[in-house]
């Protein structure tokens, strides 16, 4: 899972939980505030009733509802009272005959609770207890909650939408902030892709302190790889140089007139020194394969193939060769030495065998695809399998030592590419197709 997703999910979960708790608390506060206000009103009415209690001449406790609102007299108005003197109950006219279930409370006590009213309406009931004139008196005042509930619901919905709006904007802002905070990482990632594709040699973007050591390490390794490749190539070249001069002397020794009387010794010397020479050449060439186009600076394949064509026309100056090149004129990030080795060997082979015409094509079709066709004799299909074998030659009469296709095949294998041999449909001769994948 990506860092951005991980951070995003955590933040959404935390924010969601906080906002849900916050909304529940706020909802409870709104409701309590509304009920508290209602309870105050009920208490006012209740104490007004309590104050109006009087002891009549007939030794009865009476009360007067004149001081409280007339809504208690309108039938089913939603405002009710019930005065209990000992066991005697005096309901308000608005209650009609509904038996309001009230709790009994002790003297100088009060109780606020919910009860069911006429037609199943929810009621908020306040019961006050008192002892007057030697009688236990309970005054219950009730009010219909449904109207208040309606108002509260509207407020709750409005508050819920406000809460959700704040929640979503907070999530949006935080996501944006995470993205902004992680932007250096995205840049590093893009640069890494460029490095892998060969378009870049090191990572240069400014990064946060946490990933700075990582980037430095990668840069260091990239430099190291380039330097190591350079070092090993130089070392190989030097070794080749050092080995070849003694080899040349060895070859010359075979020419010595002292050997004229011993042709068997001369041929043995020649054979063995040639064998050593082939071994050295092949292994040195293999060692020089970069095998990875990472950190390769770009080059123009068209220009390079044209230069190669001139080179071959000079080498085969006594042969009227017609070499036609098709290649894109764009920068290609690939190891130039390896690609030139492939092209050079394939074209050199074609030049050796062609009667006149050679077509070379380099195309970027997913990877690098090279096709070299000639109008020479081609190759028998049963011989095709032997072509890339070490030092193997199918015709000893043409100059060369059979290393060409072998080294091409080594390079192709190092790059995990593919090589196909066949017959050219249009030129009639040999056709080699090499495809080398490009990184990503």
């Amino acid at each position: 899972m990506s860092l951005r997703k991980r951070l995003g999910r955590g933040l959404i979960a935390v924010l969601g939980a906080i906002f849900i708790l916050h909304w529940i608390a706020a909802d409870w506060i709104i409701r309590s505030a509304a009920e508290k206000q209602m309870a105050n009103r009920l208490a006012d009415d209740g104490y007004s009733l309590l104050d109006s209690l009087a002891y009549s001449d007939a030794e009865q406790v009476t009360f007067n509802s004149f001081h409280i609102s007339s809504v208690y007299n309108r039938r089913l108005s939603g405002h009710y009272y019930l005065v209990k003197v000992d066991a005697q109950a005096y309901p308000s006219p608005s209650l009609l005959d509904f038996p309001l279930a009230v709790e009994a409370v002790g003297p100088e006590q009060s109780m606020l609770y919910h009860a069911a009213g006429p037609e199943q309406t929810p009621l908020l009931v306040l019961t006050l207890g008192a002892v007057r004139f030697g009688h236990r008196i309970n005054i219950s005042v009730a009010e219909d909650l449904s109207a208040v509930d309606h108002d509260i619901t509207a407020i709750r919905v409005a508050y819920l939408s406000l809460t959700l709006l704040i929640l979503f904007s907070a999530i949006g802002l935080l996501r944006w902030d995470i993205q902004r905070a992680l932007r250096p990482l995205a840049m590093v990632r893009a640069e890494l892709e460029q490095v892998a594709g060969g378009g870049r040699q090191h990572i240069g973007s400014e990064v946060p302190a946490e990933v700075q050591p990582l980037v430095e390490e990668i840069n260091h390794l990239l430099e190291l790889v380039v330097r190591r490749l350079q070092q090993s190539r130089t070392a190989m070249g030097n070794l080749a140089h050092a080995l070849k001069s003694p080899m040349a002397l060895l070859l010359r020794t075979g020419e010595d007139p002292h050997f004229d009387s011993r042709p068997d010794l001369r041929s043995r010397l020649d054979e063995q020194s040639q064998a050593i020479r082939h071994c050295i050449e092949r292994e040195l060439k293999r060692a020089r394969i970069a095998g990875d186009q990472q950190a390769a600076p770009g080059f123009n394949p068209h220009g390079e193939i044209i230069a190669l064509k001139k080179t071959l026309r000079a080498i085969y100056a006594d042969k009227p060769l017609d070499i036609q090149v098709t290649a894109p004129k764009q920068l290609l990030h690939f190891d130039r030495e390896d690609l030139m080795e492939v092209l050079g060997n394939l074209l050199d082979n074609a030049c050796k065998w062609a009667k006149q015409r050679i077509d070379v094509e380099l195309a970027l079709e997913g990877g690098v695809v090279i096709r070299v066709a000639d109008d020479g004799p081609g190759c028998q299909s049963e011989d095709l399998a032997y072509l890339t074998q070490r030092g193997r030659r199918l015709d000893e009469s043409v100059q060369g030592h059979g290393l060409g296709l072998g080294i091409v095949s080594d390079i192709v294998n190092t790059y995990h590419g593919a090589i196909y041999f066949g017959r050219s449909k249009v030129l009639g001769g040999f056709l080699v197709t090499v495809s080398l994948p490009l990184h990503r």
């Binding site: 040349a248 020419e255 020479r277 100056a317 050079g344």
Partner: protein, 221 residues
């Protein structure tokens, strides 16, 4: 024939010089790049044999100096590093041939003779006709001394065929043989497309359509 041999390894240079002298050449030797560059620039040699790994001044730099100064003597480059990119770089710098160490002296002598022979009649790389100049090496066309225009392989073959057969009516079948590529199947109206492209490059009045017969390259009679 006077030769310059620039080679730093005496164990290699001395017997090689002896072989060359034995073959009838007058040989001067230089053992480092700076000395070789100086000799090559001041003395009139018929050819030079130049090692690439030289002290003081690298062989490729010596060659570049000579060519930059307008010295066109044939140069055979000797190297131990037998890689194609190096051969190409050598030829880019102006080498005429390339011999990889180690080699038989006979191989070098044969290459030397070939280079000396070809100096004066290098195989024709340019074709000029009706103000169109075709460069075989660069695969480009210059129209009336203008800028070099790059040609694709098919365009080049077709134009060269037209120029080599200027004034003749060429049938579509004859021309069709030059319109092919390994990667694409030939198509009946591809030829017309290519003729149209060539007209855009060389101008419309050089390639004429002969109805029912084919095309003709040349100036209007």
């Amino acid at each position: 024939m006077r030769l310059l041999l620039v080679e730093d390894d005496p164990a290699f240079a001395l017997p090689l010089a002896a072989d060359l002298r034995g073959a009838g050449y007058v040989v001067d030797t230089a053992t480092d790049g700076a000395q070789g560059e100086f000799l090559g620039a001041t003395e009139p040699y018929d050819a030079a044999i130049l090692d690439l790994g030289l002290p003081k001044l690298a062989g490729l730099e010596v060659l570049k100096c000579w060519r930059a100064a307008g010295n066109h003597m044939p140069v055979i480059v000797l190297t131990a590093r037998d890689a194609w990119y190096e051969k190409v770089d050598g030829f880019k710098a102006g080498a005429d041939d390339y011999v990889c160490k180690p080699f038989h002296p006979q191989e070098l002598l044969a290459r030397l003779q070939a280079v000396l022979k070809r100096v004066h009649h290098f195989n024709q790389a340019k074709l000029r006709l009706f103000g169109v100049e075709l460069d075989e090496d660069e695969q480009t066309a210059l129209i009336d001394g203008g800028e070099a225009q790059p040609l694709t392989a098919i365009e080049f073959r077709l134009l060269r065929y037209f120029m080599l057969n200027a004034g003749k009516v060429l049938s579509k079948a004859q021309l069709g043989e030059h319109v092919y590529s390994e990667s694409a199947e030939p198509d009946s109206n591809v030829l017309e497309v290519y003729v149209k492209r060539l007209r855009k490059i060389v101008g419309t009045d050089l390639i004429h359509t002969r109805r029912g017969q084919g095309y003709l390259f040349g100036l209007k009679p």
